[in-house]
């Protein structure tokens, strides 16, 4: 449903995307995960036809984003990170204006508006000015608006950023529901791990490059066993000592040392025993997407 081929984008001399390729299948929830400045927003702008790439090609629902932007625009619904609603208008007026932009009118538009408001639980707020709505509700209006013309593909830019956890779960629930009932393909950008975990597949973007891709499970299992994090006053020395003594890769960051290892609980006992006083606290967890990112790039997502 989405094909991205060797996409490169430069803003002047700065390379924001470097030779990026991936495919998104119909009905998938696909995530672009990475820190701010990683290239997610650039990719989002290209796929949503707001900007043309400096090199490479992207197809959405079979249409080229550069050569046939109007055809792409008919197939996509876009949920923006910043509010694309008119705050001086009511929920209904915003939806109606959006319908008109897509050439919908009359009974068809009324039905679509009713259906979208019902689906997103906005019927009782239809006459309210957007300015008076909470962040979570506004995001729901954004989604309702993006769905009016029944797009095959929904593009969401940081759709849950700035929302509290309950509102975030609420948005995710609506997104999953949409995929189940309508088979809409969803591409979302995020830097929130919890949200990335709910995607079917992901690409991890760092400095304009794809550093890993796959399902969340595949990505996590690329790191064997457990992740052990040791806090230390002198992480560099501790990491060096661990490498020497246990013959494994230990990486020092800020005030901690990370080790990826099978049976981490046994290692903890050994390492604390081996270097008394050098470790101030210890933690152990199953690998997360953050660990995958750190493993690949040495940098952190958030």
């Amino acid at each position: 449903m989405i094909e991205v081929q060797n996409l490169t984008h430069r803003y002047g001399a700065r390379v924001a995307l470097s030779n990026v390729s991936f495919d998104v299948k119909k009905g998938e929830i696909f995530g672009l995960l990475g820190p701010n400045g990683g290239g997610k927003s650039t990719l989002f702008r290209i796929l949503s036809t707001m900007m043309v790439p400096t090199e490479g090609k992207a197809l959405v629902a079979g249409c080229d984003v550069v050569r046939e932007p109007a055809a792409v625009r008919r197939q996509i619904g876009v949920v923006f990170q910043t509010q694309s609603l008119d705050k001086a208008l009511t929920v209904e007026e915003n939806l109606r204006a959006q319908g008109h932009l897509h050439g919908l009118s009359g009974a068809v538009l009324r039905e679509r508006m009713e259906a979208a408001m019902k689906r997103l639980g906005l019927l009782d707020r239809r006459k309210d000015l957007v300015d008076t709505l909470s962040g979570g509700l506004r995001r729901r209006v954004e989604i309702a608006k993006a769905l009016l013309h029944r797009p095959q593909v929904l593009l969401m830019d940081e759709a849950s950023s700035g929302l509290d956890p309950a509102a975030r779960r609420d948005v995710s629930r609506h997104v999953e529901n949409l995929r189940e009932s309508e088979g809409v393909t969803i591409l979302l950008t995020t830097h929130i791990l919890e949200e990335a975990d709910r995607c079917d597949r992901l690409v991890l973007l760092h400095q304009g490059n794809i550093v890993a891709q796959g399902s969340p499970d595949e990505l996590r299992s690329s790191i064997g066993g457990d992740v052990v994090v040791l806090s230390s006053e002198d992480p560099a020395t501790l990491a060096a000592k661990i490498c020497e003594r246990f013959h494994l890769a230990a990486s020092a960051r800020e005030n901690e040392v990370r080790v990826e290892i099978e049976n981490g609980h046994r290692f903890i006992a050994e390492v604390v025993e081996a270097f008394p006083g050098a470790v101030s606290s210890v933690s152990l967890h199953k690998p997360t997407l953050e660990d995958v990112f750190v493993h690949q790039t040495g940098a952190s997502i958030e």
Binding site: R73, S84, A97
Partner: protein, 246 residues
């Protein structure tokens, strides 16, 4: 057809609804040229001379305020969803400019109601012609605002242009002194300044002094400039860019 008219109509309507919900804007736009006119007029004991200039200033302020919203809308707002919708860009441009022009026109009409203070007693025909002329001027100035605002990424940039270009342009348009008494370079600038023709058009239709060039020529120049700005706006908005549109 529907896919061209509907987007334009909805954007036109949006301008009006938004304006209606913040009525204080009317006061801001009409009041300051009005005060300005009354001070200048009573001070020089010649209200008639500054009337058309003050009316055009009202229209210009309104056009500027409306088009400045393009810059805000682009960063965070409705413009984003317009840009990713399949509606033709030309239809959006037309809707936005017509909406903003309608607002400027309505405020110009409010100012027209003060014409008797300038000693003008227009008949019905004159009022209708003046109303049509005010719409033409509104449309042209909104087009000018659009062309300036479209490429801007900050409202402070627009304010700078307003102070360095638009206000001086208004000052040498016959609003403060007639072309007949202007000298050398200033006179040449007045000839090429499209606003000169807005002022002479209104003066001509209302029977006020400083009405050269005549109404027909003035209307022609104003309309021609307006059309040119509309075309430029359409082309600018339809351009594909490798820079972010938002």
């Amino acid at each position: 057809m529907n896919s061209f008219v509907l987007p334009a109509a909805t954007l036109w309507q949006r301008e009006l609804v938004r304006f209606w919900r913040q009525k204080s804007r009317v006061l801001g736009v009409v009041a300051s040229p009005l005060v300005f006119w009354l001070l200048m007029g009573y001070g020089s004991n010649d209200l008639a001379r500054f009337y058309a200039g003050a009316l055009v200033l009202t229209v210009m302020f309104s056009a500027i305020f409306s088009t400045i919203s393009i810059i805000e809308d682009r960063r965070e707002g409705f413009l984003l969803s317009m840009l990713v919708s399949p509606a033709p860009r030309t239809s959006m441009v037309l809707g936005k400019i017509l909406g903003a022009a309608t607002l400027a026109w309505l405020q110009g009409l409010i100012f027209l109601a003060f014409a008797p203070l300038a000693g003008v007693r227009p008949d019905v025909g004159q009022v209708l012609l003046a109303a049509a002329a005010i719409f033409l001027v509104s449309f042209t100035l909104t087009g000018l605002g659009f062309v300036i605002a479209w490429k801007m990424d900050s409202t402070s940039g627009f304010h700078a242009i307003m102070n360095l270009l638009l206000v001086p342009m208004w000052m040498v348009s016959g609003s403060l002194f007639p072309m007949a008494t202007a000298q050398g370079v200033i006179r040449a600038i007045m000839w090429v300044n499209p606003l000169t023709y807005s002022i002479s058009l209104l003066n001509g239709l209302l029977g006020l002094p400083n009405a050269t060039p005549g109404p027909l020529a003035s209307a022609g120049v104003t309309a021609g400039f307006g059309l040119l700005l509309l075309i430029v706006s359409g082309l600018m908005a339809s351009q594909k860019s490798t820079k972010s549109a938002a």
